[in-house]
């Protein structure tokens, strides 16, 4: 593994330069919010951000994505072919370790042996992930350590940047990461003292995460208590909006719809949310989940039980977005901890 040093104030410029050669998806401040977006010409990424509002999953799994186009012919609509846009190689820059971990979880869903999702996989394969380690947690709502993560975890990243003071320590972990190194120009090799410092930071970082959640401890309870009075207590103030699911790095439910204008049409996939009552309604009018209570239970069970059953991991990376941005302050940490006390 190559380890290099990047001067603290040079990094943004280096990324800007990189964005001239390839697509770079990075955090940028827009008005009052920090978002991940594709860097435009001359645009620099924001490095001092806490945590972005949107999760970087949008890059591989956009909120709205054209799957295929078609045209009206004499025989009716005929397919023009699928719409896997060849964007070329790309870099996802500055994703926090929790967000990086979300891709491992999303891979379980989209990259299965039998059914592979070509739209997601295509972008995923062409993208090098540069992660920015959390030396200190971005927010007090961060709880990655409770759901199998760590503020400085390298899992899933091709390159990891760690703020070690005057410099960023850059670790080029995977072969994909190595190819990026070639594009960054001359960088000094990291000295042993820096590497040692990083090890120290790693040890310290875990303790910095103050928010603790009984992530995996509640699984046995969830297995046994599909019907329990507790489920009546969490959903009442829920607006049934999709904020939590849309900002979540691991939520992956989607809808497929057709749009036609004149003689042309396209089939698009769009995020959907288990918080919506229309999500599961069948044409017959039957709806297996008619109440917000059932929908909340589904959201929680999907993340903390079903996903664990299917893939051996909790479908939550502890980024805290749903906690911070829920309009009515439904706090998943509190729910999980309340369950753990039952």
């Amino acid at each position: 593994m190559e380890t290099r040093l990047i001067k603290r104030d040079a990094l943004a410029g280096i990324v800007k330069k990189l964005s001239e050669q390839m697509t770079v998806y990075a955090p940028v401040k827009k008005e009052d919010n920090v978002f991940f977006k594709v860097l435009e010409k001359g645009e620099e990424p924001l490095l001092t951000y806490a945590n972005t509002k949107n999760a970087p999953k949008n890059f591989f799994f956009p909120q709205t994505e054209t799957m295929m186009g078609y045209m009206r012919t004499e025989r009716g609509m005929e397919l023009k072919g699928d719409n896997i846009a060849d964007m070329g190689d790309a870099v996802l820059f500055g994703a926090r370790p929790c967000d990086v971990r979300s891709f491992i979880l999303l891979d379980y869903v989209f990259d299965q042996e039998k059914y592979k999702d070509p739209y997601y996989i295509d972008k995923r394969e062409k993208t090098t992930i540069v992660s920015l380690a959390c030396v200190t947690p971005p927010y007090s709502t961060c709880f990655c350590t409770s759901v199998g993560g760590h503020p400085m975890i390298v899992e899933g990243a091709d390159v990891v940047l760690t703020d070690v003071g005057d410099n960023y320590l850059a670790e080029f972990i995977t072969p994909k990461g190595q190819t990026i190194l070639a594009k960054l120009g001359d960088l000094p090799t990291a000295d042993d003292a820096t590497l040692a410092k990083k090890e120290e930071l790693v040890k310290k970082a875990e303790g910095e995460i103050k928010s603790q959640v009984a992530g995996s401890a509640i699984k046995p309870w969830l297995d046994e208590n599909f019907e329990h009075p507790f489920w009546d207590t969490i959903h009442k103030s829920c607006l049934a909006c999709g904020t939590c699911t849309y900002l979540c790095p691991t939520c992956h439910c989607f809808d497929i719809t057709d749009e036609v204008k004149g003689d042309e049409g396209k089939r698009v996939r769009t995020w959907d949310s288990c918080m919506y009552w229309l999500f599961t309604i069948e044409t017959s009018g039957h709806n297996p989940r008619t109440s917000q209570k059932q929908r909340w239970r589904q959201r929680l069970l999907h993340k903390f039980r079903y996903f664990v059953d299917n893939f051996g991991a909790i479908a939550c990376v502890g980024c805290g977005r749903c906690v911070m941005y829920c309009p009515v302050n439904i706090d998943i940490r509190k729910i999980v901890n309340d369950i753990s006390k039952l």
């Binding site: 295929m68 078609y70 609509m77 699928d82 059914y115 592979k116 959907d272 044409t283």
Partner: protein, 280 residues
């Protein structure tokens, strides 16, 4: 890379049969535009496919034909939503798409050597028809024991596959019991609800498996009959219905507990159903 599983396979509507007097259930015979697609479309009774109408959307429908019927696939569709309504307005010769086969199938290996009881109600007879036609095909018939079919509809006009029903009734290797809730002037057959008829027919549970599909209310009243006859939950199979979009276990809406109906189902034994979360 595999083929894009979201792309519909082009097919032509070769034949449309109106099944019922109310005209809202039709059977569509589809032929593949490309020979290799036909060869690749290997399915078993009980599986389903997404019928794909570009510009309208997709609808998951059980395959009503049997793999022993070569050269085409058939779907029996009730007119309900956007896609199925459009489907009903199609003419023969129209091009459309199909995506599949999807899901698991009736447990054919398990059924081998056993006596089979098929119970169907109303329009939910489609994949049962596929199974029956598969089993009575000359290549397969000897692999299965006795076959009993109980099929009912509300009235004679609502029975689907009327011609085939007659054929099956003529066969001596299938015990066919057709019933209607209420007959009309022309009806000479049996009258009565499916659970009652099952009770009368009283198939032996000895080395037997029941495969049941129908409206929830029918299933609810039929199951106790079979329990009484000594069928265990391992030997009763049914097929679930759920809202689906992708059909390949990704879009996240058809899960019952950790199982996805589109991928792990739609066919489940009652034992399996008991282990699922009761949310379907």
């Amino acid at each position: 890379m595999q083929k894009n599983p979201y792309l519909p396979i082009p097919v032509d509507v070769a034949k449309i049969t109106t099944e019922v007097d109310t005209k809202d259930i039709k059977t569509f015979r589809l032929t593949f535009v490309n020979k290799e697609d036909e060869e690749n479309f290997k399915y078993l009774p009980g599986q389903f496919a997404e019928l794909s109408l570009l510009g309208k959307g997709e609808s998951p429908i059980g395959i009503a034909s049997s793999p022993t019927q070569k050269g085409y696939i058939e779907f029996t569709v009730q007119k309900a939503g956007v896609v199925t309504s459009t489907l009903h307005s199609l003419e023969e010769g129209t091009r459309m798409g199909v995506r599949g086969p999807l899901g698991n199938s009736w447990p054919l290996e398990y059924l081998e050597g056993k006596n089979i009881v098929i119970v169907g109600g109303g329009f939910a007879f489609t994949t049962l028809r596929s199974l029956l036609n598969y089993m009575i095909h000359e290549e397969n018939r000897k692999r299965f024991g006795t076959i009993t079919v109980v099929y009912g509809a509300r009235n004679p006009g609502l029975l689907i596959y009327k011609d085939e029903l007659k054929e099956w009734e003529k066969r001596d290797d299938v015990n066919t019991f057709i019933t209607v809730d209420k007959g009309d002037d022309g009806w000479k057959g049996r009258e009565g609800f499916v659970p009652t008829v099952c009770k009368e027919v009283a198939p032996s549970s000895e080395n037997a498996v029941t495969v049941i599909c129908g409206p929830p209310i029918m299933i609810r009243f039929t199951l106790p009959v079979f329990f009484e006859l000594g069928f265990s939950k391992d030997n009763i199979y049914t097929s679930l219905e759920m809202r689906m979009k992708c059909g390949i276990g990704k879009c996240g809406r058809c899960n019952v507990g950790e199982k996805y109906v589109c991928k792990d189902g739609p066919v489940f034994s009652l034992t399996e159903l008991d282990q699922l979360t009761p949310e379907y």
